[in-house]
Amino acid sequence: MIDALWTNLDYVGSVVLFCIGLYCVITKNNLIKKFIGINIMETAVFAFIVALGVVEGGDAPIMGSGATPPFTNPIPQALILTGIVVAVSTTSLALSLIIRIYRHCGTIEADELREMG
């Protein structure tokens, strides 16, 4: 298993990044920091899927004169381009909700908000 993990080191990096994000979400008290954790988890997923499309010695999938195969897989890149835009959308919505919480309650610390409950 260690050998397999070593050949798939990029995927292992994504797993580590995912756990860092999860750690932020669990332990941080500030809502913005929690959301940064969620963003790190998103990034881990993006990195994993883009790494799936890598081909040994592959070029960017841009044709035209002088392009030589192999090319990397364009589909994960296209999917993640879509995913990044959706992540931006959710991030902006979450941040605006946090701003609204701050205006309403005067704090964005999770434990203080819970006490107000």
């Binding site: 397999a4 993990l5 798939n8 797993v15 040994e56 999938p61 897989n73 296209a78 959706v86 609204r100």
Partner: protein
Amino acid sequence: MKRALTAALLIIVALPMLYAVAQLPPQGSPTSPAYTHVSARYLEAGPEEAGAENVVTAVILNYRGFDTDGEVTVIFTSLAAVLAVLLGVRTGEKPLAGQPVSSVEASVVVSFVVRLLAPAIALFGIYVILHGHVSPGGGFQGGAILASLLIIITTILERAQAEALVPLRIRRWLQIAAPLAFFTVGVAGLVVFGNYLQFPRTHDLAWLTVTWLTIIEIGIGVGGAAILATIFWTMGGDS
């Protein structure tokens, strides 16, 4: 105690993922299933069929155009949601203090450099948008560059100057530019070829494909820039 629980939870989460990752085919092998099915065809036929030498652009705008059509609607919807959440102030809720938190003037050097670079940044953004089908780039990337230009003008120079670049009169139209461009091209495909968002398939109509791709790219770029900048202004300002 809490630390030990957190560590245990992280290990419980990480172990199955590591196990699964170890089962995947070796990274970068050209025989992996992700590479041998549909993407081989996209790489082979993409530039001819979809009219874009950049196969990523061909995939997002042509092969998976419906997906991207939905996605530009998502980002527009997020703008609508941000405006709904932040602009509707209920009674009894006091808006943030009118004074900006940081009122330090930007130094002369910084503002001069921003003025100097702004046209170049704008040019680069437009280049990335318009060359998205033959080189790395595209509507989203170029839109992000234009939006960052608007944001840097807002933070370093004055908000009014940045807002003047997106005039209030046509701002709503700019924000909805991406769905509109998709809708226009989609209906054009419906009228000419009989299906929503159908691109021409024959070789002698390649110019039409490129034109339609460019229309969508410009729509996405302008719309994305306007949406990102408006979100920034809505969050940053209390007006």
